[in-house]
């Protein structure tokens, strides 16, 4: 556990020193601009526009960081050979992998939390005092974070056995497929053989269902999110990410570092 924590804190330090958190400046500017603009162009729905815009920005920025930095977590260490000296210490490869994962999730947590604060500041400028329904935004932010944690796990898995470019492609592809997993499950395609439908449905259950984590619509209109959904999503992300990371650990522990 100690080794994992050591790698994780160093990964966080790397993200901070490599100015990953600079995206917060962009987010702050976006929120300030939105707050000013929304107040002038929309009547009565300022808060819902701010929440939708803020949550979308949190999600998109987070996905970019999760995919691009997630893929680089392992591949960069191999390319630059920074890993060599580390693996010659009493460290298991899976500990290194979990540490890198933990470090990026920690970075995303700090990043997402800071953006959530920015969102509330923007919300407060168009509407104060804040109401009870506005605090559901925090639930949406939490679910976005779960989604990002899952994306990082997938990015790491792919980067363990393929090139960074392909890993980005696979992760992004799987994310898009995962967003439509629910549609694939319920699709009643005309002209498709029943066997094909069964196969598609089977695939849809294997894909990470990212739409599960999307409660933006409800939250933007101050509607609550059922606690059961939050629990379900938490367990789903935890289990799915654990499986993905376990697979990544198996692949990585057998990899020759040339």
């Amino acid at each position: 556990m100690r080794n994992i924590w050591t790698v994780a804190t160093n990964t966080f330090r790397e993200a901070v020193r490599d100015r990953v958190l600079y995206n917060l400046v962009f987010f702050a500017l976006l929120m300030m601009g939105a707050a000013i603009l929304v107040g002038q162009v929309s009547i009565g729905i300022e808060d819902s526009v701010i929440v939708s815009l803020g949550l979308t920005a949190i999600s998109v920025i987070g996905i970019f960081i999760a995919v691009f930095i997630g893929v680089g977590l392992v591949s960069k260490e191999i390319d630059k050979r920074t890993l060599y000296a580390l693996l010659a210490k009493p460290v298991q490869r899976w500990e290194f992998l979990l540490g890198k994962y933990g470090g990026l999730v920690l970075t995303l947590t700090v990043n997402t939390a800071a953006m959530a604060v920015g969102l509330y500041v923007a919300l407060w400028t168009v509407k104060h005092p804040l109401e009870r329904g506005d605090w559901y935004v925090l639930v949406a932010v939490y679910l976005i974070l779960l989604k990002l944690a899952l994306i990082v796990a997938l990015a790491m898995l792919f980067s363990c056995f393929t090139t960074p470019f392909l890993a980005i492609l696979f992760t992004a592809g799987l994310y898009v497929a995962g967003v439509f997993a629910e549609d694939l499950r319920t699709m009643q395609a005309v002209g498709l053989a029943p066997e094909t439908m069964k196969l598609l449905r089977g695939i849809s259950y294997l894909l990470p269902n990212f739409e599960n984590f999307n409660v933006m619509g409800a939250v933007a209109h101050s509607r609550g999110v059922p606690a059961s959904l939050v629990w379900q999503d938490t367990w789903y992300a935890l289990l799915y990410a654990s499986l993905v990371l376990a697979t990544a650990a198996v692949v990585f522990s057998r990899r020759n570092l040339k």
Binding site: N10, R81, T82, Y84, A88, Q92, L257
Partner: protein, 318 residues
Amino acid sequence: MASPAIEIENLSKEYPHGFLNLKKKRSLENLNMDVQTGEVFGFLGPNGAGKSTTIKLLMRLIFPTAGTARILGKSIHDVSMHRNVGYLPEQPYFYDYLTAAELLDYFARFHNLTAADRRDRVQRMLKKVGLETAKKIQLRKYSKGMLQRAGLAQAILHDPQVVILDEPMSGLDPLGRREVRDIILELKREGRTVLFSTHILSDAEMLCDRVGVIVGGTLRGIGAPGEMIGITAQGMEILFELPEAGTKTPLLEKATKTGERYRVQVPECELYAALEQLKDARVRILSVAQIKPTLEEFFMNLVDADRAQANAVEVSGQ
């Protein structure tokens, strides 16, 4: 007799290559060797000979196709083995956003040292490798030689019994090379076992109790540096100047003139006779030095011998 610090048995490594990775390229073939406790062992060979492959196998960075190895009695697959082993990778590259002190502190954490112990060791190591004044500079601003020193510091930070260095002199200026040599000798004085790979014969000769010579993935022999790599003098070279123009001595006919200086090579058994002749002619002797084979000559001889053997097998097969 103490058991060897490093034991390698039938270690082989093949890399898949070609379309669909169906072909195999053998990088190391049935390597068998021991490194005794407390000795400095040099691993010599040209590029692609299998030196780094062997070291990476020992450090579990790659996995053997066949064979096994133990360090201090523990299998190389046992991670706890690394508690007592230090490793410097070839052309080391570290997290460039860290300072040298942060890097060493980071690595020290994997050895379960207390904060005070870590601080103390980091300071000592930085001083030892001459990076004390640069400890607060990020590694991205370090020269290659400074990175090599930082790498050396992280390798010996935890007082390991066995130190494995992959081309530790590479990229260093003469002063840096001397400092690394001093550190290796200090490690030897402290009773540690050092295995290092090198291209530089003089380093091997100066530092090693024994050397292993590897060419084309096959170990060609192990022994004392002199006997293994033939660092016995091939002859003697005398450098001299004439006291005045027109001075006559029979050696002048054999000598090569560069500027005002003459250089003559004589067999070792004729050295004293040659010196007598020069003394009689009252020439000024500037230096007398042994002529040793260069690394290229040494390895080319081995490669030529390989080719000759392969040709002989081919002819006998026909």
